[in-house]
Symmetry: none
Subunit: 418 residues, 2 copies
Amino acid sequence: MHGEIITIGNELISGRTLDLNGWYAAGRLTASGLKITGIAAVGDNPEEVTKALKMAVEKSGFVIVTGGLGSTEDDMTNEIVADALNRPLCLDKQMFEQIKSYVAARGIEMSSSLEKMAWMPEGSKILNPRGNVCGFSLVEDKVRLYFLPGVPDQMRYLMDRYVLPEILNHVKTLPVLRQRILKLYGLNEPGMAEILKDLPRKNENILLGFYPHFPENHITISLRGQDERTVMRELDKAEQEVRSLLGPYIFASGVESMEEVVGEKLRNKGLTISVAESCTGGLIGNLLTNTPGSSNYFMGGLLVYSNQSKIDLLNVSQEVIEKKGAVSDKTVREMAEGVKKRIGTDIGLAVTGIAGPEGGSREKPVGTVHIGLSTDRETFAGKYRFWGTRKQIKKNTAIMALDWVRRYLNGDPFLPGL
Amino acid sequence: MHGEIITIGNELISGRTLDLNGWYAAGRLTASGLKITGIAAVGDNPEEVTKALKMAVEKSGFVIVTGGLGSTEDDMTNEIVADALNRPLCLDKQMFEQIKSYVAARGIEMSSSLEKMAWMPEGSKILNPRGNVCGFSLVEDKVRLYFLPGVPDQMRYLMDRYVLPEILNHVKTLPVLRQRILKLYGLNEPGMAEILKDLPRKNENILLGFYPHFPENHITISLRGQDERTVMRELDKAEQEVRSLLGPYIFASGVESMEEVVGEKLRNKGLTISVAESCTGGLIGNLLTNTPGSSNYFMGGLLVYSNQSKIDLLNVSQEVIEKKGAVSDKTVREMAEGVKKRIGTDIGLAVTGIAGPEGGSREKPVGTVHIGLSTDRETFAGKYRFWGTRKQIKKNTAIMALDWVRRYLNGDPFLPGL
C-alpha cells in the first residue's frame, strides 16, 4: 500500500521554512515498512490544495496532510477538504468542547476564529479526543486521509501516537518490519562504514542505514520477515554483531539521549554531579536538566564565562590562568576540582574552550576545547579540536563532556584527544 | 509567471534526507519576486517523475528539476525527460569533452556510466560550458525547464549563477515582491488575530502570514507590485500600522533572536548581566552565549538546582526557602540580588519554577515560574504559569526572562503575570 504526503503552507513554497513535516512523516512511515510515492508542498491556496488532494486520493492508499488547521484566516484546510470532497462542514461537538475547555483553562475568550476549528468535513473523526492538539481523519473511496497541524511538535505527536498505529492496523498483509536504532558518538560515517565492512552478512535481508545526527551518528538495523519471532531473533543476532565491532562508541539504543544515559547511570550508582561551564555557557546543565527527575543527581553548576569568575567562584589560581591560559588542561582541572568541592558533589565536570568565531590564535585555534572530570579518586583532563559554527562547537563540547562521564562510569577509556 | 519545483530522489521520499534543494530553490526564486506554486518530491521512479514533469509543464512558466543527473544506475533523469517529452537522446559533444577532461585530470578511466551523462534530450543546452558541474535547460511549449544536480553545493552554484539570472531575464514583466518579518513574544495566534482584525486594510494586496515558532509567533507582511519604491513605501506603512497595534509584543524584525536583541541592547548600553537559574538549568546562559561576542556583557551564572545550592552560592536565606518555598517571589528576588552581587554585574536575572512532569502541587502546579530581575535601582519579581512539556516550560521560562531584560532596557512594562 502506497501513501502520499501533502504539506500545506505559503512558508514552504516560498522557501521561508524547511519542510520538516514532510520529512518526518516520510521517515516514520518508511521505517514502518510503508512506501511513500511523493511529498507535495503547496501554498495556502484552495485551488492548489484541492488539486493535490484529488490527485493523491486517486493513486494512494493513504494520504497525510499537514498544515492549515489553526485559527487564523490563512488556515483553510477544513473548508478546502469539505469543498474538494463534496462534504458539508459540520460542527463537531467533541472538538468544540475540547476547544472550550482549552479556552477556559487559559482564561481566554471564545471567538469565531477558534470556533472555526471545530467545523469539520462530514464524516471526520478526531484523532485524539480529550487532547489539546487538533487533527482528524476521514475515509474517501477507501483511501484513508489524515489531517494534522503544521506545528512540528503537534504533528509529530499525532503522527506517532495515532496515525502510524492506525495505518499499520489497516495494512493486514504487511510483512513484519522491525528496526533497531543504535546511537554513536565519536565516530564519523566513513569511520563507521570502515569498521562495519567486516560485519558478517549471513542474512542478506538485513538492511543497515546510517544517519548523521550532529554530533552523533545513528545506525538503523532493519529486517522484514513473515513472523515476529524470527525477525526479532535475527535482529538480536545482527545487533550483537554490530555492537561487538563498535563497542563503547555506542552510547544508546532507541530513543535515549546522551544526557538521559548519563543521568540514568548516575542515578543507578547513587552519584551526584555538578558542572563548571565556560565556552558552553550553560548547555551541559541545560541538557542534564531536560530529563525529568534530574534533581536526584544534578546539584547545580557555575557558569564561569569570564576569567575573573573562574578565579572568584572556583578558586582557579590567577597564576595558572596567566601562565597556561584559561583554555588549558591546568585550568580545566582546577575548574573540575573547584566545582566538585564548591557544590559538594561526587563528580565535578568542567569545560573551557574557544567557541569562535573570534578569539582563536595559531596556538589555540577556534574549536580548541579542554574537558576536565574530577572524582573522589582522581582528576582527568584532555584536549580536543572541534570544527563548525559556534553552536556546533558548543554542542560537540557538551556531548563530549557528557561522554566522558558515561565512559568513566562504564570503566571505558575516554575518546582519544590531542 | 508561476514556477514549479520537482526534486528527485528516493532519499527524499523515504525521509532519509531533508529536501534542502526544494527549499533553497524556492527561497531564491521567491526572493526574486517569482511565485512558486508547489514543490513535489518524487522517488527515482520513471513513472512518478514523468507524471510530475508533465503536470508541471502544463501549468507553469518554468520548472526546476533537481537530482538524477549523476553516473550511478539510479540516475535516470536524462532518459526520463527524453521519454516524457518525446525527444531522442543525443550525445552532446561539448558535455562529452567536459567529462573527458574531468576524467583525464583525475587519472580515472572513461566508462559507459560516465559517458551516459553526455547523452541528453534533443534541444538541451548545457548550463555552464567549460565547468565541472552538470546541468542543462530546454524549452518545451514555451515552458523553460532547468535540470540541476542533486548535490546541494552544485545545485546552488548553478541556481545562483545561471538559472536565476536566465529566468529573470525572460520575465520582463516581473512584479516586485518584498516581505517583512516581525517576531512577537507573549501573544498567541488568536490574540494576534484578534488585535490585527482592526488593521486598516487600505491596500488589499498586502498579505499577512502567521507562523507559530514556539514560544514565539512570527508575522510576515508581503506585498507584490510594479516597482520597488512603491512596494517599499506601502510596506513601510503597513509595518507601521502593525507595529502601532502590537507595540512591545514585537521584539525583533527579520532574523534576530530574542537573545541577540537582548545582547545588543546590553552591549549598546555598556551593561553586564549574570544569571541565577533553577528550573531552566543553564538554558538562559546557553542562549545568551550562542551570540558571538557575548563575553562583552555576559559575565557568568549560577545553576542553583538544589535548595542547598541556593543558600550556599547565592545567600538566599534558609528561612525564606522554608517559609515561602524555593518557587516564590521572595526566593527569586534574593536569587537575582545574590547573583548580581556575587558575580558583580549591573543586572542579575533569576528564575525558579516547576518544569515538571513531577513536583507540582495544587497550590504550585507544574509550569509555575517566578522571574526576578535586579538592577542598580530596584529588584522586580513576578509569577507566570506555562503549559506544555518539560522542555517547553523551560524554553518559555528562558525567553520570558530574557523578555524581562528587553522590556526593562526599553522602559516597557513586563508582560502581565499572575
